[in-house]
Subunit: 265 residues, 2 copies
DNA sequence: GTGCGTTACTTGTTATAACCTGTAGCCCTT
DNA sequence: AAGGGCTACAGGTTATAACAAGTAACGCAC
């Protein structure tokens, strides 16, 4: 975990995080004191504190004045739900995801697409249509519109093995920092039905996504159609100590996961 | 907002947070620079930075090296995502929700329902079918199965004005503490289509819900069908300072909201 | 006019240093 | 033995200072 270019405080927090996540400490174990870490890494206390603060906001540790810093119980720091990517979803449950690019060409932006991407209508954007398969069985079809700048960056990527996110983040160090996502339902038109081996009119789970980079520029607009008989989204809702009661039944989302249903169903 | 005992950095972050929340800045407005704030409050830069970091992790602002600190769009700064109730959703946007009970009678539990409710199959449960309207226009239809114990408690409630959650929580002090929720899509059968004024086969957003009380007993199992042309769910995803990068594009869900689309669409 | 470099201003990182506050253990007094 | 105070050590707050790095705008040279 030594990344020479990274700031010292980041190296320290990475080092500590790795040890905590590998379970080298028990929950509520006392971590080395700030001064110990200062000596160990030969940095000033402000740098160590910066590292500890990162881990504190991440929920990996808690600090008590006069006592020290302690490892947070891992089960407790799941405060946030994550919406994962198709490929991650599949890989996590051991299903081989594959992807077929069925269309990839520039086209003038429609008013809708232009609005999402933040470009002028009729600007040339790149549309990529892909069919997503789980175990070689089509599960989803999506259309992605990219503004010229990002389309350029991705021009050499086949996008069959790596997601757009992965290419941007690993090859260009452009992280995705914000996104909007709308989940709806619709019926399959002839085109989508053919790609997904469905009858026209079949129910589809529709997901529209817009993603943004650090500079608030739009990375892509995407519409994705999931076969409703194969995919659904699960939400786990739970009120815990941190959430006050009396909310008329509104529960915070603790987990968000997409679910692939077996063909047998 | 002057609390003499509090640390200076806290006073500064309180001061700034108040101004941001009161809408004295537009989203993405540039805040005073760190040096400006140093002079204004007569503190060192480290103190100002400590205050800004607090607000950054809270999601009130974002910072860009070389540019400045900017007000984060207010919609994005909620640590947890909540899945709200139909009635709450409507009321929050000033739409009068109404509810018509179209069926309410005991019936023997089917194997599926029995499994969800944790009772023996063929146990007598109560089914309640309701049509949900927004401005007197049907938006959703749901079927709710209640186990005998909870059905008893709700026997005297018409359920047209109050939700099941509200009755249990306010009249009996039984809070809902856990829930599961599946979001999918399906086509309208004749029965549902009639209730929602749709053609059979129309796309519906399907939400199945199971809710649990503190003693882990199941309160109800519900299937709800939303008109896909009127409702969708929005997710706001955002990575902030507390979330390490490199997650292959998996962003935490900051907000979850249901969206009612205007009839004009 | 275009292009490049300089400059001013921004946030990011880090060092040194001082003092405050909270905690626990130790020792001395009662 | 019980009590209180002293002390060492923990994190909390804050000042001063310097340099790095990213951005934008201005101006000069070509």
């Amino acid at each position: 975990m030594d990344t020479p270019g990274a700031p010292r405080h980041e190296q320290i927090s990475d080092w500590l995080r790795a040890r905590i996540e590998q379970g080298q400490y028990e929950p509520n174990d006392k971590l080395p004191s700030e001064n110990d870490l200062c000596e160990q890494f030969d940095v000033s206390r402000i740098t160590v504190r910066r590292a500890l603060q990162t881990l504190e906001t991440e929920g990996h540790l808690y600090r008590r004045q006069g006592l020290g810093s302690f490892v947070q119980d891992a089960r407790l720091h799941q405060g946030l739900a994550y919406l994962t990517d198709f490929v991650q979803d599949m890989e996590q449950r051991g299903i081989a995801p594959s992807c077929t690019v069925v269309h990839r060409a520039p086209e003038p932006a429609s008013p809708d697409v232009a609005a999402f991407l933040g470009v002028e209508p009729e600007t040339t954007v790149v549309r990529i249509d892909r069919v997503r398969q789980a175990n070689a069985d089509p599960v989803a079809f999506d259309q992605t519109w990219l503004p010229p700048t990002y389309a350029e960056l991705l021009a050499d990527s086949p996008l069959t093995e790596q997601t757009i996110f992965q290419v941007l983040e690993h090859a260009y160090a452009i992280p995705v920092v914000k996104g909007e996502c709308r989940i709806g339902a619709t019926q399959a038109d002839e085109d989508v039905a053919a790609h997904l081996h469905l009858a026209p009119g079949a129910a589809l789970l529709l997901m529209e996504r817009v993603s943004f980079a650090e500079d608030q520029s739009c990375i892509f607009y995407q519409t994705r159609y999931y076969r409703a008989d194969r995919m659904s989204f699960n939400l786990h809702l739970a009120r815990d100590a941190g959430t006050p009661a009396g909310g008329d039944g509104a529960l915070p989302v603790r987990e968000f996961e997409s679910v692939l249903r077996g063909s047998a169903e």
